[in-house]
Symmetry: D2
Subunit: 365 residues, 4 copies
Amino acid sequence: MNNSLGEIFRITSFGESHGDCIGIVVDGCPAGLPLTVEDIQQEADKRKSGRNRPLATARKEEDRVEIFSGIFNGRTTGAPIMMSIWNRNIDSSEYEKVIKLIRPGHADFTAWEKYGGFHDWRGSGRFSGRITAGFVMAGAVAKKLLATIGIETVAHVVEIGGIKADPPDDVSEIRRIMAENEVSCADVAAATRMIDAIKTAGRAGDSVGGVIEAWATGLPVGLGEPVFDTLEGCLAKAYFAIPAVKAVEFGAGAEVARMSGSDGNDPFAMVDGRVRTAGNNAGGILGGISNGMPLIARLAVKATPSIAKEQRTVDLTSGEEATLKVGGRHDTCIVPRAAVVAESMTAVVLADLALRGGFIGRIIK
Amino acid sequence: MNNSLGEIFRITSFGESHGDCIGIVVDGCPAGLPLTVEDIQQEADKRKSGRNRPLATARKEEDRVEIFSGIFNGRTTGAPIMMSIWNRNIDSSEYEKVIKLIRPGHADFTAWEKYGGFHDWRGSGRFSGRITAGFVMAGAVAKKLLATIGIETVAHVVEIGGIKADPPDDVSEIRRIMAENEVSCADVAAATRMIDAIKTAGRAGDSVGGVIEAWATGLPVGLGEPVFDTLEGCLAKAYFAIPAVKAVEFGAGAEVARMSGSDGNDPFAMVDGRVRTAGNNAGGILGGISNGMPLIARLAVKATPSIAKEQRTVDLTSGEEATLKVGGRHDTCIVPRAAVVAESMTAVVLADLALRGGFIGRIIK
Amino acid sequence: MNNSLGEIFRITSFGESHGDCIGIVVDGCPAGLPLTVEDIQQEADKRKSGRNRPLATARKEEDRVEIFSGIFNGRTTGAPIMMSIWNRNIDSSEYEKVIKLIRPGHADFTAWEKYGGFHDWRGSGRFSGRITAGFVMAGAVAKKLLATIGIETVAHVVEIGGIKADPPDDVSEIRRIMAENEVSCADVAAATRMIDAIKTAGRAGDSVGGVIEAWATGLPVGLGEPVFDTLEGCLAKAYFAIPAVKAVEFGAGAEVARMSGSDGNDPFAMVDGRVRTAGNNAGGILGGISNGMPLIARLAVKATPSIAKEQRTVDLTSGEEATLKVGGRHDTCIVPRAAVVAESMTAVVLADLALRGGFIGRIIK
Amino acid sequence: MNNSLGEIFRITSFGESHGDCIGIVVDGCPAGLPLTVEDIQQEADKRKSGRNRPLATARKEEDRVEIFSGIFNGRTTGAPIMMSIWNRNIDSSEYEKVIKLIRPGHADFTAWEKYGGFHDWRGSGRFSGRITAGFVMAGAVAKKLLATIGIETVAHVVEIGGIKADPPDDVSEIRRIMAENEVSCADVAAATRMIDAIKTAGRAGDSVGGVIEAWATGLPVGLGEPVFDTLEGCLAKAYFAIPAVKAVEFGAGAEVARMSGSDGNDPFAMVDGRVRTAGNNAGGILGGISNGMPLIARLAVKATPSIAKEQRTVDLTSGEEATLKVGGRHDTCIVPRAAVVAESMTAVVLADLALRGGFIGRIIK
């Protein structure tokens, strides 16, 4: 296992879904950044139920964040920040029944083989979406750090269950609209249909996936450390740590395959005395380096694999085929919650690259 | 800049397009692996012109590979393997004219800002597709190493200029068909149309992009080091180091967003006494770990940004808007050549994860 | 700050002396290793008062270890193991008086400058010897892991306050004798004199330093990853993370400077059918790689810088010279306690190198 | 094997003693630093024969440095700098005779076991002192980079064959005197006696070791990234990559074991309006961080293990004991040459820590 990410701003994740806690250590944050437990709690709360109101799991996740190190007199100290939430209200009984009845679409089988059956399978253990609570706590720190140089991040839902949104092309508009519905979608009409689609799937014992769009604005030109630590590559690696993400694209994304060079290239222009591009097919990235335009990424999230419908599987105990209906509490659609995590990971990666590129100093004054 | 990739099997890239050479250091390869310069040359030759015959750049890239360290008596020694090709037949004059006339879709602007104008801009320097020659040399080593445990990799072209291929679902068939056309496409009819599309675009002074599909077969269950070093994440990071890649997906990829849980989950089944999935929407990866099914990734590649058509841009010297037609030798479509690089990067990442997971020993006997 | 060490078996330290807790995350430990909180507690207890009885600080460090993740059904799971002790019985008042009256021999000044005054200075914060409690917890895991391949570690005190021990050349004898005195010295007579020296220094308001010898036995031939990750280099880096260590040597150590080649070279010999050396000036390491002989390192530890005697210093508030007597609870001699930490770090480094070299598998059965 | 060192300023070593070349890749050097091949050659020449005139190996090492990447218009570009020297005048015949007659004090045995006999044993391969030529080339870059912020490094010989020097306590005096003798010793009388000792040992077919003292001046307060990447730890790890180094100490070093707290603590004082210490037992490092005083390290180097005297060993072919006289060309004393390497490694480590700490920007103007 590797549970650390980043070179200077480096996060280390720990904890299991049904263990004692879920947490994160943030190392390498500059000293002097004002940071309170409320800053973290606010972000963690967004993840709990898809930022706004719950279509999500019935599990009561109080998830009170505690910070155990790295803060002194309301500011970061330069020392590692260890934060966690405690797991309560846990019932692992549903999982015990199905330990070896490996769930399709889940890590049950691969974890079993990789860790010799010694992994903590309760509530999916390390493979639960719940571990992303730690990512969000780290993201909260990263967001405050990025704010010191004017970088802001947001992630909204642009598709659920085949229903596509038509969001505005302006971050503050996106923020305003997405805050008003429980699927974090910046298109009111689409949001309503998305919610219907989720409910319909839920009633059928099924689930739905979707697409998240992550933005970062205010980036200086120069973030990214090619050839290997490109902005795209570092972000993609972080995004794929979010369970259920199966595709990541930037700017025009997969559509670039269908564009000619003359269509796809963003022409350069002078805007307010600065070099900008007309159009943003590049998603704010050229040669793996930020070009000063908004950074735009999209993540495709698969439907929750835990469904009440009967599925074919294998029982590892007997080595025979079997069927399975997954019980317990599961979101019909995790996309809005995953969007919060995507925003966090965007911030975590940008914070690291900003430090590596010398855009943020070692002391915040 | 960060020019190293991998934890145990770690590659370090160096060289510029119009500098003395393009090379790679492969560190961490186990000792005892039979390896000749011909093994490397064979892969490097594939990259030169899209694996087969040239639709590609007119630049004569003899590109004779030399190995300077790490091999003794025909085998790897456990020491770093330094390999390079020498740059010859170089004409940087075309670039000199346009140093500060930043090319749309290229890294000219971002490199200028990030490196203060000190970067080697000749032939795009470190941002040239030519540096992937080093990736391919490293891939050749990785492929031989993976072969010792039965892992094979291949990458073929599944779309160019909007024309989609309908390739067979079998690796040896894919290999056989793709070898017979110059766009490395495993669909004869589509290949013909792709070639036409490339020629048409070329005549118009334009360029086209496409989609590459990378496969790896023979994987044991257990490759991948979640939560951060997932198979998807490590591969994606490596793929995004290939210039022009703007989207990466695995298995059903972006389509998962439109699938319900019951559609998208691959049911488990027993096949020849082993656990396998019926279907492969997961692309061979569950929880970031290989599940024993073929690994399948797709990369969207944008059209070559260097085009003969006139484009709007900015002259950094004057800070004024200008127009530009990019001259010099450029591929109308780099997708077939990029496929060779994608295959190499797949191998490089899998070699590292196989070593990290203990699937390959430290001495090959 | 960098608070992580190791490539595969990687530890991440967090916590401050007078903060909430002191802890460690151990990532990369193979799954299946039997591990209980008692295993950890036992090692942590040794550190509390120099392994045996206290000559040490009067601070009541109950230091009950808790494991919060990574253990399931009494075994490691392959997931990160987060462990900590809680800080209680804390009185920071003594420190408040002297925040800016920088203590000679301490990190007060360098921390102030490096972290802009934002560091947690209470009880020396991250620079307190107390943070090594986390190292010892990690060492406990490493020791259990190493035991699975027959590697054992020990560290004993060979010098305090100028009094040198004449210990036996046999690990089990060393263990037996050192366990019987409170300075962990494997020479009964020397131990008595060391204790006197400590008491004398204490009465004078002064402190004493000494030398620790760390052993590891049962090493296979082949641990170490030269040229940069030599066994010496990796161990030395870890040892210098122990506060107050100012010199590290291996085998004959600094004395090699005075030996001729014919004196210093350890001749090879066959012993019980295996290649061994006659003599061990190399300290078990040749070319940065273990040679199968006992690994022997020595660490020089400076006298506790916190002394009751008056010292000259500077007041950062006024920028003027001043004098200072350090109050509070401080060990007159930390060498016996540091020995426990040295043993832990030896184990941590060897565990990582054993995993990197393929000497320990990814699942312990 | 791990052949990379550093986080931002990262060097990757390659090449074998009797292979094609010895080289280094320097990644992470900021763009804009003026750098010529002569800058590198000048440092490489120092290593060839102990900085001054040869008491050293008879092998004619012309060692003309070539830079193959990363430099453009006389300045660094931010891209990896690949440099190497070519191996010529090679005679491996002496080694062939003794492949399996493992040389005491050498890595023959450990390399054989670790790499399964596949390592390049010619001229000691990767374990030859010759690979440090690459370290010195990297050091040359680091020195130029450090000079931009006023940091200078030097290493001189303070002991050979038991003869101790009494050097001045001033860097420019050290430089002046050491330049006048072939053992790089800053004590004229001692130098003469050292040279005699070397000659005497050589005539007896034996060899001698010694001690190097490395200095760095002009350091800002704040270099070092504790708790694990302390200044001492990072330097020690780098020093132990130099073959034959068996002990590393800082400031008063091993002597701290015999000092009381009141003797060992360096009192703080105000000097020219800046906080300085009276005395430098700390060697310029407190809490793993530079304190603005000169950094002082000492490295004990063992006598050249290759000696003409008969030694007892084992023949790995037969598994029987045997005797061996090592022929070929070997230095009687490598200490003056190792001093050049020690200086280089000091610079390499400080460059990395200066970049990590934000003391050097990403572009040099």
